[in-house]
Structures are given as C-alpha cells and as structure tokens.
Symmetry: C2
C-alpha cells in the first residue's frame, strides 16, 4: 500500500461504510451488491487480456464469449431480479459493451410488451433460448430522432398475406442498431406500414435477417457492421438494407395496432405505454452519468493523492498534486456533482416506479411531468458528466492519455449517452415545451403542482427591476437559501424564454419559426430548471441522513455544488438581482474554503463509491496507490512488445539508409 | 454534387479565393500550398487503407512506411523550406502521426543546437542518413512538467572517461517519448549530471539504446512500447530503463556546459536559448488549435447543410439542420473562434520570427512577454479547440461517433496539446506570474509597454464602485468598444488576483502557499488576458483586409466571437460595471441576429479553409455532400465484414442454445 494513500484514509472524518450504505440505499443492498460483484470477480471465466490489446475482431469475439457466459451464469446462480442482473452485468462489462445487449434490453422486452398472446407463445421461447438472436432496428442513415420521417416501408400484400419490406433509398438503410451487423438473426424492424394504398405510420415487424441454421444473410437482406466508432469497439452496430423481403402477416407486432388478413388496418387505442419505456431508459441514464463521473473522480483523486510534482514550499518535498488549489478546483466540484447525480438518479428511479404503479392503474396524470423531467435531466447530467470525465482525464497529466488509466475508455463508452435515447438539445427543448406550457397555465391563473409549482410565484416575485434595486436576500452559507436562488433563477429564465417566444410570435411566419427563433433561450431555461432540481434534490437528501459525520461531509459537498454553480453562472444571478457583486466575491472566497474542508476527506469520499479495482480497471485509480509499478507491468504486455524488433524496421528503415 | 450544398455555395456573399488568400497570407502562398498538397494527394505511394481498419501493429507499420517515403520524396522534390516541409507532412499525415516525428523535430534540431562543432561533424551525418534513429527522452514515469525533479542520473567516471547512466527507481523510467519504443536506436537522454561527487542538474546525453545493425536493445537497456493510448495508435511512445549503461564522455552535448576529462564541470553561459525553442513550439500549437477546430467546423457545417431532420413548419419538407438556431449557436461561434485562432496563430508566428531575429542579435528584451503570451495562448486556444471539436462532433448526431466522420480522430490527435509542451494550468499560471509582476511594476510607477500596457491604466480606471454606479460606455455593436471592454475585464481580474495574492501573503506560511491559495484567481486573470488578446488581434486583422465583402463577413464573425464571449462570461462584465443588464439582453438578441447573418455564408466560410477531401478524410465533411453513399461504401470495408459469419457465432452462440 502506498503510504500517501494510507495516510489519506486515516484522515477521513466519517465512517466509510455508512456513506456507502447511503449510496446503495441501505446496508442490505450494499451487501447483496458486493456478493454479486464477488461472483464475477472471482470467476476465472471472466479473466481475460486487456481488451485494449486486442484487434476489433478479437474484442468482438471476447465480448460474444462473455455475453454467452453471462447468460449461463445468471441462470446457474438463479439471479433474476432486474436490478441484480444489471449489477452483475455492470461488473462483467466494466466500461465495455455486449453485442447481445440489445437482444436482452430491447428485443425481448419489445416482444413481451407488443406481442399478442399468440405471438408471445411463438416468439418468446425462441428468443429466450437464443435460437432467435434479435435487435431493434429503428434508426436509419437519414433519420434518428425524428422517427416520423423514417423511410423503410412494409407494404401489405393480401394475396399472399405477407408484408413486403423495402429500404429503397440510401438514406432508408437501417444504421446503428447494436448487434445488427454480425450477431443477430432477427430484427424488429420499424417501418412505415402501407395497406390498402394508405400509410398508417411506423409499426414494428419481426424480420428474419439471417438463417437460423447457417447464420448466412437471407435473400434480399444486405447486412453488415457499420465500421469502427469512437468506442464500442466490441459491438457490431450494423446496417440493414431490405430488398423486397417478404414476411408473414403474423410477424407484425399486433398487440395494439393490427392488420387483418384482407388488409384492413385497426388503430391502436393509445401510445402512452411506449412513452413510459422511453422515460424509464432516460431515468436510468441519469444514474449512468453518476456512475461514469464517480468512476472518473475515483481514478483522478486517488492518482492525485499519490502523484507528487513541483515545489510548493522551497526545500520541502514535492507535494501531492491534490494539494494544488487548481487541482482541487477541477476535481472537487466534479466529486460533488457525482454525488448530486447519484441522488438524482435514486430519486428518478423511485419516482419512475411510483408513477409506473399509477400508470398500470390507468392514472397518467404525473407522466407529463416525469417525461419532461427525465428528458431534461438526461441531457443535463450527461452533458455535465461528459465534460467532467475529460476534466478528470486531463487532471491526470500525460498518464490520463494512457489506456491503462481507463479514463479514455470511460469517456468513449459514456459520451454516446449525449446522443442516444434522445439527442440532448432535443431533450432540453422537450423540457422547455413543458415549462413554457406550465408558465402559460400559471399566468392564466391555474395553480401548478409538482416540481414546476415555482412558476406560480413567478408572477409576483420576478419583476423587471434593475440589478441595483433588488434586495439581497440570499444567504450564501445556507443551502436552503441557495435552493431558493436557483429556483428564482429558473423562474426568471423560463419567463424570459416565454416572453421572447411571445415577441417572436408577433413577427414570425409560424409558431414553429417562433419556437426555433427562441430556442437558445428555451434551452437555457431548461438548463436552469434542471440545475434547480438537482440542487433541490441534493439538499433534500441531506435531511434523510442520520449519521452526523456523514451528514456534515455531504453538506459540504452540497454547498460546494451549489456555490460552484452560482459562480459558473454568475451573470444570471447578478442579472436577476439575486446576488450582489460583493456576495459574488464572498462566494469566490467561500469556494476556496470549501475545497480545503473537503481536502482531507477527498480520498475517503471516492472510496465510498466502493468500486473494486477489477471494476475500475485503472492503473492510476488503484486502491493501493501503486501506480507506477502497475503501469510498467501493463506496458510490457503491449502487443508491440511481443517482438523485440518490429518487422517495419527491416522493411522500411534499414533500406532507407542505402537510398539516401 | 448534393443540391443542398451547391445552393449554399451560390448564396455566398464574398469571393472565396480572396478569403483563402487572407488565411494563407497571400495568393502566392495559397498556390504553393496547393502545389505541395497535390504532390501528396496524387501520389499512389500514399494511398492506403483507412487506418481505422488496421490493428495497432499494422498502423505502426503503415506509419513507418509513410515516414520513410516522405523522407525520400521531400529530397526528390527538393522541398527544404521548413514551412513547406511542414505543409507536405501535414497532408501526408492527415490526423495521424509519424513515428519518426521526434527524430526530425527534436532529435536533429537538438543535435544542431547543442553539439560542439566536433560533435556535429560526428553525429549529424549519421542522423541525417538515418543510421541513427533518435528520440528525445525527458519525461519520466514520475515527472513531467517539473523537470528539475527528473531522477535519471549520469555519473561521470574519470577512470574510463565515461558517463554511467541509471534509472534506478521505478519512477525514473523514461516514459512517453515518441518513437522510443520500437523505432529509435539512440535517445538524447536528459539526466542529472554527477561529477566529482556533485550534482550539476539536468544535461543531455546521446545514448545508444539499440544495436545499429541488428536493432536489438543493447545490454543494460530495457526499452519498449508504453501500450495503447487515447489516439496516437501509430506511434510507439516508449519506456526506457537504463541499468549502468556506459557512454563515452563525448556523448554529452557540450556546446554550453562541459565536463572535462578529469571530471571538472564547466558551467553554461546562459539558458535563454532553449527557452526560445519552447516559445516557438507553443506558438506553433496556437496554429494547430486553429487547424483542428477549422477542420471540425468544416465537417460539422457541411454535414449540417445536407442533413435534414424534423419539422420546422408543418407540411413543409424537413429543414437542413443548419437552419436550427440551436445548431447555429453551437457551430457559428466555433467557426468564429477558428478564424480568430487562425489570425492569432499568424500573429504569433510573425512575432516569434521578429523577436528571434532580435534574440540572435543578443536582444532578449521582448522574450519574457512572448514567453508569457505563448504559454497563456497555448492553454487558452487548446482548451477552447478541445472543447469545440467535441461540440462539432456531437452536433453531427449519431454519425459523429463513426470513425468515418474523422471527428473522433481529430479529437484524440488534438487533445494531447492540452498537456504536452507545458500542462495548460501550469501555462496559465506562468502567464499569471508575468501579469502580476507587470501589475506590481505599474503600481510602482513604472510605465509598461507592449501587450500588458493596459495595466498602466488600471490604477485610474478600475475603482471599487458598485455595479449600479458604473457608467455604461460599451457600444455592443462596435468591435473597438468591445475590445476595450475585454481589456477592462482583464485589468479588473488581474487586479483581483494581485490583491487576493497580497491578502494571502499576510497570513500564509510562505510566498508559495499564498500563490497556491490564489491560483484559481490567477488562472482566471490569465484567461481574461488571453481572451482580450484574441479579440484585439481579430479586430486588428480586419484593418488589413481590403476586399469589402470579405471584410464584411469577417467583421460579422469577429463581432460574434466578441459578443459570444461576453455572454459566456457575463458575470465578469456585469460585476466590473462594464455592461448593464439591459445591454446583456440586447446582446442575447444581437447574437441571434448575427447567427442569421452568418447562415448564408456558413458553408463558404468553411470552404475558404480549403481542406481537400483527402485531407479531411471525412464522409460527413465531403465537399460534394454525398454523405450517405460514402458512409455505406466505407462501412462495407469494415474488417468485421470480411467474412459473412464471424467465427464467434459457431464458437459461443450456437453451443449456447443446447446448454439452456
């Protein structure tokens, strides 16, 4: 054990295990999580070479192998609770992905939710026994977020009772689905349904794409891997071009909409249920933001505790780089953010389960708010984590660029969350739509409830004063007072967006033009709203914590999170008259004080996330702090070191001498 | 040619060629650059498979081959002007790197500048004929930026007139040098010189590491590749552990310091010349920031012109995504930044050459300012470009994640500039040291000259007024007035940092502690200073431009750059009383207007950067806009598509079925 990092742990002011339990949601959950982790970590079947040393084809091979093994092991251990499966898989995968991910997360659930009873009986056993290997083919080369414009067609032919599937333009080729390229033999294809000469919009069709025996592509199917990406090397994201591929009528998923044998189309009763799945996945992503950022902070903070550099005081030994104020200012606000997002993720998960209970009882009343919240928070947290991971990586100096740090892999694995499941800017605008609607309702005298209820007050409180005449009411040392400040800032920015939208409507050609011409303001309003929600939920979490020492250290983090956000957005707070210039100066100084308060607990605060070395897979983030030894051992295994003299030397460099 | 992108080009309000000439520094330079580019692009020897389809060993092989070919071709074509060599190499490499880069850029120049006449005669011919293949080994596992603490030792043994080189601790292993792992047979090793029982600090030693015949590592030398990184796959960054390696006394580079045969150490007269090289490389990096960002903008803006998505007006065709205000707000400020940095790069280059003329005449008077400027601007521009590249990538939706977009490669190739040649935060603090020193001189009544002369005014102009009582003087439509505003912001933040430093000194244990406790403020001061310099240089460039239409479009970009920076840092401007709240609202609206003004010229403004398709190497950024066709063609070549059925199917997935 590196003595620096041991000393850090001795200095912690709180009991680590209590904080870990808070993060897990109870001691029992901590124990069960650890049990599951040990199942993977102790399992020789999951030991393998660092994937960074393999070619893409080898990585894919290793990932398929692990996918297959996971399935067997989960059954062997009898793990069936979805959260436990999720935990187990998270450990196996590390920062990598599985080619069968879409089969498990999208293909089977879609079959379960959109098949008729008869269809379920036929397909589900085939999928669960992996005779069918499936993916979910929605996105096309030309269209992602705007699904109404997808071009693939499924035209019903009553003479044979078949659908004829076509992707006739280049932009209609299905593109991106995970596991589509090489792994799957079936795809749920989303296509525009044509029957009796009319288009009925997007529907889902079970489409065989490869032979279930030989695995060769079927006639009319052009399928393959879309090529290397920024990360996800081990997944065969694929393309699929369908040329007059015929499938039986029964392959349309018919629980809701139907096509009768003669071609008559029967409308679905409602589409709110699919809406629910989307909300669930976005809520889960908030938790992923917390996880990616907390891993990155663990690596960067542990490394900063063992790395020594430069002189702080002449003649004294080189300080740990964690003692530099600039390093603390990079990392501690991110640490606070990781905690904040973790608690927001817990809240979203709980809320989703509560509301989905209501939904199954037919009560959709809270769904719009949850939808708006999950969209905005998905964008807010993924953007912040995305930037934060890179700050962590760059705070490790040169060594952060090495794949042995794991930080490059964490980044490339995480960054797609900014785009998939709803592009972030589009998400922010969806939230804005809800905010503007709520604002208008409040102005029309309706009393808002839930998280937007603050817009009720906006009529009376937010007045167009000049900065100087605003009363200064915020107590910068009081989290409750800061939550209020964030609330007023959000109210103010929603109001600005709504008013600018109103102004635009007076000289725009259409509502849509006006919306577009206000979208910068609308995104800012959503951002401020989400920021308020995060600060509020962090503050609320504190009240649940009984242990005094843990409460104290989390309060410091929450205050840091809140004040750092004020400093980063000081213009908004000044402009809204919520803070005075001298208060801003006080905040700058207070922030420095908070960094010093957190400093002795920094390593313990990342230890509390409880990532085992096998999960971090990082030379820099090792629990024992023996960074350099481990880097050297790792480097020796680099494929370029398999031979002493690389063949290129004799091929190109030696001959060069004689040519000059 | 895609009709959307043709239409964009027809709409441009200015003559493309004139703007390209402005960027190149004259029509003649444009022509010569194009000539050189054509030499590479038409050369079948440089045609090769997309490096993204190759394993790391294959990539290294391809890169060594290209390196060797470049050397031969440059001689064949008689290209010897350093700038022309740089141009040529830039085209060959694209976003990739060459293993012989350090040999050419560091090894040979160091020999030239630090060898005695006798040493030159011996070593340079060997290096220039590639019998010696060299690298520059400074950074160690345990130390980067703080070079005084490097641990490798060279101990003089007068009995044999040899130096004995050792890296005896794990942290003293040389780590990172490019080309060290597999390519080089010599390294210039930076080591602490010990002679006659005394340490004389860091000196450079020519150290043979591999046999010049067999290329096998020499006795006592442990050398290898440090393993995969975030980018730079084709370079063998290496490690080097030296165990009692003996080299002749003559292998120390002795132009300045010397060790005599009996071990007597002779001091160097001055170290200011090496200082100059550092300044030069940092100045060059400013230009690299412009290049990486302008490439990224070219890709993202062209793609945004051909990509259609969603509905803006009901019933109308899907708009180009470049018509969305949020998309414009992401990309156009970055486009303006790319132009700004390009002009700053030109300025730095010119200034460097002017000042290095003075230096060679023994006049070092301007070096400290240039040093401070190059450090700060290196950090300021690389940070901005680093973030900007990722914004460009994410603005392309899912397709930005594909390696065929080239954006991931641009990012991973560029991001190390934030760390190498001086870690960015350290750079900002170096600039801050100069600013604080200048501030103190001004306060002591000294009249400052050069770029910091604005600190002279700070005594009279920056007074501790409250926000409300400040006179509002800035004209937000006038660039000259905005330059003033940036200047006062910088002056204010330098003052805040200097005063906080003063306060800290009163209750800190040492000067160094006080400095550390003020470093957040110091970095902010540097940042504001650099921002001022960039806005000022952009504005100054406008006055050189005669063509009215080009002047007009560049003025719009400059105004966008300046106002966007104000909006992003509005707290500073409000706090300093430079702008009123209502002016900030006007700026928000004005920014939207500027986006619309730039919109019709956006494609032409990236065309003017004049990157040929072969240099961008991006399916999304193609000049002809035929994005999807090209993506499909590219994907088909993906290595995973070399077989229809991947072997993992038969190995793991088929057997799975029978096991369940």
């Amino acid at each position: 054990m590196n003595p620096d990092i041991s000393r850090e742990r001795e200095n912690a002011s709180f009991n680590l295990e209590i904080l870990t339990n808070v993060l897990d949601g109870g001691a029992e959950k901590t124990n069960r999580r650890r049990e599951i982790e040990s199942l993977v970590i102790g399992d020789p079947d999951f030991q393998h070479e660092d994937l960074n040393f393999l070619s893409r084809s080898e990585r894919y091979d290793a990932a398929v192998r692990k996918s297959a093994q996971m399935i067997l092991k989960l059954r062997e251990y009898g793990i069936s609770d979805p959260e436990e499966i999720y935990s187990y898989k998270t450990v196996v995968r590390g920062v990598f992905q599985e080619p069968l991910g879409v089969h498990n997360v999208m293909f089977i659930p879609t079959l379960k939710s959109q098949c008729t009873a008869e269809q379920r009986k036929k397909w589900i056993p085939l999928a669960e026994s992996f005779h069918m290997l499936g993916t979910y083919a929605q996105t096309e080369l030309g269209h992602g977020t705007h699904i109404r414009a997808l071009e693939t067609t499924a035209t019903y032919d009553p003479s044979t009772q078949e659908f004829v599937l076509n992707s006739s333009t280049i932009s209609s080729i299905k593109w991106w689905p995970g596991g589509l390229g090489k792994t799957s033999n079936h795809a749920i294809v989303l296509a525009q349904l044509y029957t009796q000469g009319k288009c009925h919009g997007l529907h889902a069709f079970i489409t065989p794409i490869r032979c279930m025996k030989t695995h060769m592509p079927l006639p009319g199917v052009v399928v393959g891997d879309i090529g290397p990406k920024f990360g996800f090397d081990e997944v065969d994201n694929g393309y699929l071009k369908l040329e007059n591929v015929r499938i039986p009528r029964e392959n349309m998923l018919m629980k809701y909409a139907q096509v009768e044998p003669d071609g008559t189309y029967v409308k679905p009763p409602s589409d709110k249920l699919t809406y629910g799945t989307m909300v669930f996945i976005r809520s889960m992503i908030v938790g992923e933001s917390a996880r990616a950022l907390s891993k990155s902070c663990t690596i960067a903070i542990r490394y900063s505790a063992v790395r020594h550099q430069s002189e702080l005081r002449p003649g004294e030994p080189e300080p740990q780089i964690l003692d530099y104020q600039t390093q603390q200012y990079k990392l501690f606000p991110l640490l606070a953010t990781a905690y904040a997002f973790h608690f927001v993720g817990q809240y979203m998960n709980k809320t989703y389960h509560r509301i989905s209970g209501d939904i199954s009882l037919g009560d959709f009343s809270e769904l719009p708010e949850l939808h708006a919240l999950s969209a905005g928070l998905k964008a807010f947290t993924t953007w912040a984590a995305n930037t934060g991971i890179e700050v962590c990586r760059m705070s490790c100096g040169g060594h952060g660029y090495s794949r042995c740090s794991s930080l490059p892999d964490i980044y490339v694995t995480f960054t797609p969350t900014c785009t998939y499941e709803g592009e972030n800017t589009v998400m922010m605008l969806q939230t804005a739509r809800y905010l503007v609607k709520s604002y208008k309702q409040a102005r029309a005298g309706q009393q808002l409830t839930g998280i937007v209820s603050y817009l009720n007050e906006s009529q009376s409180r937010i007045q167009p004063h000049s900065v100087s005449s605003r009363p200064t009411v915020v107590n910068i040392n009081d989290l409750v007072s800061l939550v209020e400040a964030y609330k007023f800032r959000a109210a103010k920015l929603v109001e600005v967006a709504a008013k600018n939208l109103q102004l635009e409507l007076q000289h725009s050609k259409s509502n849509e033009d006006a919306w577009n011409n206000t979208s910068i303001d609308l995104v800012r309003a959503s951002d401020a709203h989400c920021h308020y929600v995060v600060v509020k939920l962090f503050a609320a979490k504190l009240s649940e914590i009984g242990d005094k020492a843990v409460h104290s250290v989390l309060s410091t983090l929450a205050l840091l999170y809140a004040l750092h956000g004020v400093a980063q957005n000081s213009g908004d707070f000044l402009k809204a008259g919520l803070l005075s210039v001298s208060q801003l100066d006080q905040i700058s100084q207070r922030l420095k004080g908070l960094l010093l308060e957190i400093r002795p607990n920094a390593v313990a605060l990342v230890d509390a996330f409880d990532y085992r070395d096998e999960m971090l897979n990082s030379s820099l983030g090792r629990y024992d702090g023996n960074v350099y030894e481990h880097m050297f051992e790792w480097a020796k295994k680099s494929p370029l070191n398999h031979t002493e003299v690389h063949e290129s030397h004799n091929k190109y460099l030696k001959p060069l001498r004689s040519k000059l």
